[in-house]
């Protein structure tokens, strides 16, 4: 018997549909490069950072649970593991993004900005160092994440607690160095779009958004797998704990959103307020309001009763609300620089994004098929799944 695969498969029709979306998305992207290059590069930045948030959110979720010796997560761990294995996708996206540096970042071509913003700005923001840094970030994330996944998979074949111990160490390294890399990446990719504007809480706000959307995509996959017949290993208790996570990180996100907004509003320094003045009036103002409603108000109000966090339907809805909210968050962050005072959504926003998401879903499902859905030899498995011995024996997973 092959112990390292399972019967999980996407229906052929769905697979064809996803492939169609990928093709449509790539064609729109290429057409956009000729017809509306600045706008398409802005959207590609959003899409790439979005996919990066999903896979890194899952990677941090795995690492945090390893580092804290969490028992509850073991039965569902293969889902965040599969999602986190897609960091390379956004890595390729970042390589493509290098060709768009001149369309995206003012610092790459304007001499005026370097005279205006003094100090170490020039030493940090120049093209070659920017590219080197991007490569370093992705190498750090991918190498440490691969190490964790490899140990987890090896444990399936060789029952040995040493793999868990190694992963605790790898996870601690991932949290420290991956976290620093993500802080710097969010400054490089996002904050430097408006080079004269800065906010010291910005990287932490980005981390909270990344973890929140990572949780949401994990919940989507857990609910889908529960629906197609794996509810005996992905139990209501796991869903409940994920719901607690989603609720608390939704609050964490809005806490940081308010922290950044409040301090800039209070101190009222022109170079800082320039960011919010643009996003406070007209169409962008309404979108900023909607952003807080989607990322905090709706999940918070709906998930407060415990029954909601145990319901597949409500959890799926809230995860999708948060996923839409995270796209809107990045849209408001990036696009005012490219769209001007009034927001608009067109085919350039939608098709390439959906194409990349389809590719992401296909890759995650391929990865899920590759390894056993249950880490059968993890020492904490019984804590996560009291019935694990019987399930492992009957090979019903």
């Amino acid at each position: 018997m092959n112990t390292n695969s399972n019967s999980l498969a996407i229906p052929k029709a769905v697979q064809k549909f996803l492939l169609l979306l990928i093709v449509a998305g790539s064609l729109t992207f290429i057409a956009g490069l000729f017809l509306s290059p600045r706008r398409i590069w802005g959207n590609f930045l959003i899409t790439d950072f979005y996919i990066l948030s999903l896979s890194l959110g899952a990677a941090f979720f795995v690492a945090v649970n390893y580092a804290s010796n969490s028992g509850w997560v073991v039965a569902i761990r293969r889902i965040p593991e599969a999602i986190s294995s897609t960091i390379w996708l956004s890595g390729i996206g970042a390589l493509i993004l290098i060709f768009g540096i001149h369309s995206l970042y003012e610092w790459s071509h304007s001499a005026a900005i370097h005279e205006e913003v003094s100090g170490y700005f020039k030493a940090w923001f120049n093209e070659s160092f920017f590219i080197i840094r991007l490569v370093v970030y992705f190498v750090v994330w991918i190498v440490l994440n691969r190490a964790i996944l490899a140990n987890s998979n090896r444990q399936d074949k060789h029952p040995d607690i040493a793999y868990t111990r190694k992963n605790v160490r790898n996870s601690a390294l991932f949290i420290i160095f991956g976290g620093i890399a993500f802080c710097l990446a969010s400054i490089d990719l996002m904050m430097s779009l408006q080079a004269r504007w800065y906010s010291t809480v910005f990287p932490v706000l980005m981390i909270s958004g990344m973890f929140l959307s990572g949780l949401a995509i994990i919940i989507v996959f857990v609910v889908i797998l529960r629906h197609i017949g794996y509810s005996h290993i992905f139990t209501t208790e796991h869903l409940h704990t994920l719901g607690n996570y989603l609720l608390s990180f939704s609050v964490f996100w809005v806490y940081l959103w308010v922290s950044q907004h409040l301090l800039i509003w209070y101190s009222n320094i022109p170079e800082e307020t320039s960011y919010y003045i643009f996003r406070h009036f007209g169409g962008w103002g309404s979108l900023s309001f909607l952003n807080v409603v989607l990322n905090w108000l709706i999940p918070f109000a709906v998930l407060l009763p415990v029954a909601a966090r145990k319901s597949d339907k409500i959890m799926l809805q809230m995860a999708i609300v948060v996923l839409i909210g995270h796209w809107l968050d990045l849209f408001i962050l990036v696009m005012p620089a490219f769209l001007g005072p009034e927001p608009s959504v067109s085919v350039w926003e939608i098709l390439p994004f959906i194409g990349f998401i389809s590719l992401f879903v296909l890759v995650v499902f391929r990865r899920l098929r590759k390894s056993s859905l249950l880490p059968v030899n993890d020492p904490y498995l019984v804590e996560s799944l009291p019935d694990s011995e019987r399930i492992v024996k009957s090979r019903n997973f």
Binding site: V258, H261, L262, W265, Y266, S267, N268, L304, V306
Partner: protein, 173 residues
Amino acid sequence: MDLFSAVFKDEDDLLKVTRQVRDSGYSIYDIYTPYAVHGLDDAMGLKPSKLSYLCFGFAFLGLIVAILSQYWIGSIDWPINVGGKPFNSLPAYLPVTFELTVLFGGVGIFFAFLFKAKLRPGKTAKLVNPHSTDYYFILTLEIKDSSFDSETVLSLCRQNNAVETKIILGNAL
């Protein structure tokens, strides 16, 4: 009321015997454990606590108090111009509102719990067995009338490795 008490050394034994005595129709008086045992509330058949609704109520009260008091202080009783901001502005109220919501919720539920559990500072604990704070898991059953079959209960407890069983006459707890 008389009580029957049985001492266990393992939480798995306790969970098992709790389910068994409940299924056999005996009413559980209480269970004393050194730490919160996962799944015990389910095995005892306890209803979900209503304290969380109370917590929400206290927190909401904190929210209202915070906003109204800041509005009254800042824009009616003693308006001060801070950095040219309007006297009545919601963003400026947010930090205090957040803190008071948390404070009212936290302190409110703390005292509500003390009140419900009949606890107060300086109260002497009445323990079935002092080791229930240490390493013993203790199950106590109500002996209501003659329908309490001590033989069955005793054998259930012995099957699940009870260390010690006894009957407490009169409710000494």
